[in-house]
Amino acid sequence: MENNVVSLGRKLEHDGLCFFVSCDFPAVCTAQKAPSASVGRLYTDKHEWVEVSNENVATVGISHYAQEALGDVVFAQLPSIGTEIKQHDEVGALESVKAASELYSPVSGKVVEVNTEVENAPALINKACYTQGWLFKVLLSNSDELKSLMDEDSYSKFLKSDAH
């Protein structure tokens, strides 16, 4: 995670924002203070994140690493509410600097909410990928799928490895 924090700090400094004062990345901050205190967010090897609420609803977004790799997102094409999706299905796309990156669902279920704020202001994905920049919510149909995802620690190790 250290590497990430450094690059994040640089990026935001560059943007004229102060990372340590107004933090849009609670996960990063949490990791900084106490690396083991995970907020329950899970990650895929394709840099999507999932956070499950008590009602078996998973919020899906992309990781800090992914948003940085994409660059400025100019358009977010999200799935429609009510769509039944399967894990790994193509559910939309994020467009940045003329590249359309397909969006895949890390979980199966029914789309119950999409982030219309992100549809109207895709830059939120870059600014706050773990908070305001979430993409859509899924009512899980198979919570076993979550077992194959990485927790905060495993994901930060994964980011340091060459595998991604």
Binding site: V74, F75, S96, A100, E119
Partner: protein, 400 residues
């Protein structure tokens, strides 16, 4: 093609491959996922155990934009590029291709294009609108996503132009190829999936520039409010204007050979020795026989649902000078269908008893949006007279 004959000796090693291609066989060697392919006896085994990377240059024999977009899509979805990178060269009859998340009504005058016989297509990659005709070469670079590099691909093209014709194009911030600091010769866009990717770009060789300009004219009457990706207009120049030696055939040959001389793993030019590792030029026929399922993909690309229905939701309005000020008709359009219509009257004007903003229920609701939808709304408005609430105006209107 000229270059195929000219390079016959260099190409000899690929004769067997070319023959097999003709019979519809080894083209499919890279395929892993497509069910029909996986069971085909024609499928060649994957590359040698050492897994050396080989490259091919495919040349589409179609000039139909929907067929070529379908071919590109088919390859993206069905090939495994791990051991085999492909460059696809393709050209289209006159058309405008908008980016995946664009609004065609913002980008072009849809009715004008139709009258001119210029097709409108939507591609799967991001970015802005481009005009194609047979004087434009489209180059698609297919690689696994892990090896996706637009910069590397553009370097190959820039190097070709430098070596063959002594031009020195630069890659600008938008990753367009430009000459003389501003004139665009190539525009770039790409698509990234879970395992595959492609980067495609245009190369202007000798397009009809008057037609290019006319095809990208907009309908000035429509005021559109939308989050759709915007195009960035750029001045363009044809390569043939920069060097008379740059013909379409010469460029296709030069670009193809330079691609095959380049080692994508080390990103270096290894000359003719590297070419020996490649599979060479292959003419491809984007037919159902060669690419099972391609017809269905073509039909999707040509459908209203994809070309217009995929437009991000937007608000479109037109202003009308009614003598007492500007009246505005506004429609909200989702998935290409008119969702609601309202009229905004200038102050002091009434329609029947209503003033200000009036929601209309008209026959255009839930219909496909076209600029002609406004005519229908205008007609509906005429069922009641617009009148001024000021007595002076009323008298004037009566006299008129």
């Amino acid at each position: 093609m000229a270059f195929a004959i000219q390079s016959a000796s260099k190409c000899a090693k690929f004769t067997s491959v070319l023959v097999r291609q003709g019979s519809g066989g080894s083209l499919l060697s890279g395929v892993t996922k497509h069910a029909a392919m996986a069971t085909s006896a024609d499928v060649l085994p994957p590359s040698t155990p050492g897994k050396e990377l080989s490259k091919s240059v495919f040349i589409s024999q179609s000039r139909d934009v929907f067929t070529n977009l379908a071919l590109e899509d088919w390859m993206y979805k069905n090939f495994d590029f791990t051991d085999h990178h492909i460059m696809l060269l393709w050209r289209n009859d006159p058309c405008v291709v908008v980016g995946r998340h664009q609004n065609p009504w913002v980008e072009v005058d849809v009715d004008l294009l139709e009258r001119k016989g210029v097709k409108l297509a939507r591609r799967n990659s991001g970015g802005g609108s481009v005009y194609h005709d047979p004087g434009n070469l489209n180059v698609s670079f297919f690689t696994p996503k892990a090896r996706y590099s637009r910069k590397h691909n553009l370097d190959i093209l820039a190097k070709t132009l430098e070596k063959e014709w002594n031009l020195s194009p630069e890659i600008n911030k938008k990753e367009d190829l430009i000459v003389d600091k501003q004139y665009k010769i190539s525009g770039t866009a790409s698509r990234l999936g879970r395992s595959n990717s492609y980067h495609h770009c245009t190369l202007l060789v000798n397009v009809e520039k008057a037609n290019l300009r006319a095809s990208l004219l907009k309908n000035e009457h429509l005021h559109i409010n939308s989050t759709a990706t915007a195009s960035v207009p750029s001045p363009t120049v044809n390569l043939s204007e920069l060097h008379p030696g740059i013909t379409m055939d010469a460029l296709m040959a030069a670009v193809g050979w330079q691609y095959m001389k380049t080692d994508d793993l080390t990103k270096s030019d290894k000359g003719w020795r590297q070419v020996q590792k490649q599979k060479g030029f292959q003419m491809v026929n984007p037919s159902e026989e060669w690419f099972p399922g391609i017809q269905k993909i073509r039909d999707e690309f040509a459908s209203w649902e994809w070309r217009y229905g995929k437009t991000p939701k937007f608000e479109v309005s037109r202003n009308y000078d009614i003598g007492w000020g500007l009246m505005q008709i506004t429609m909200n359009v989702e998935s290409g269908l008119v969702k609601d219509v309202h009229v905004e009257l200038p102050e002091g004007v009434a329609w029947g008893r209503m003033t200000g903003r009036i929601e209309l229920s008209t026959s255009v609701a839930n219909q496909r949006f076209t600029p002609a939808s406004f005519l229908l709304v205008e007609k509906a408005l005429k069922t009641q007279k617009l009148h001024s609430l000021h007595s002076d105006d009323r008298r004037q209107a009566a006299r008129a």
